[in-house]
Symmetry: C2
Subunit: 66 residues, 2 copies
């Protein structure tokens, strides 16, 4: 399965695991909607910094902190 782990990057550049096994990501006007392969859903006020799909890594940051 090709889901990814989603990390939140803080102001110091440290990546903290935010959600595992994410399948769906839909950007919206007030952040990102995410759904993982277990049907868990999260909405977060964040932007995508970088996606590394082969490494299963998606890195987010808080808006304005990049």
């Amino acid at each position: 399965m090709c889901e990814a782990n989603v990390y939140m990057r803080d102001e110091t550049g440290h990546d903290r695991l935010f959600m595992e096994h994410v399948d769906i990501i839909i950007p919206g006007p007030d952040g990102l909607y995410m759904e993982n392969i277990f049907g868990e859903r999260k909405k977060v006020d964040a932007v995508i910094q970088e996606m590394q799909l082969v490494s299963h890594r998606i890195i987010l940051s808080r808006p304005g902190s990049a």
Copy 2:
């Protein structure tokens, strides 16, 4: 390998294949930088509409057309 195929959605809702086997996507101020597993690179003035990682699909649209 868990790369994805990237599609551009047009104004009529039709998805056209834009780039295959994409590994890296980095959003920037003037669009998206993409790199596939063959080392090919593209930069495109677009935004991410939706990502379906298990289905290996990433859907883009032109800014302002969503």
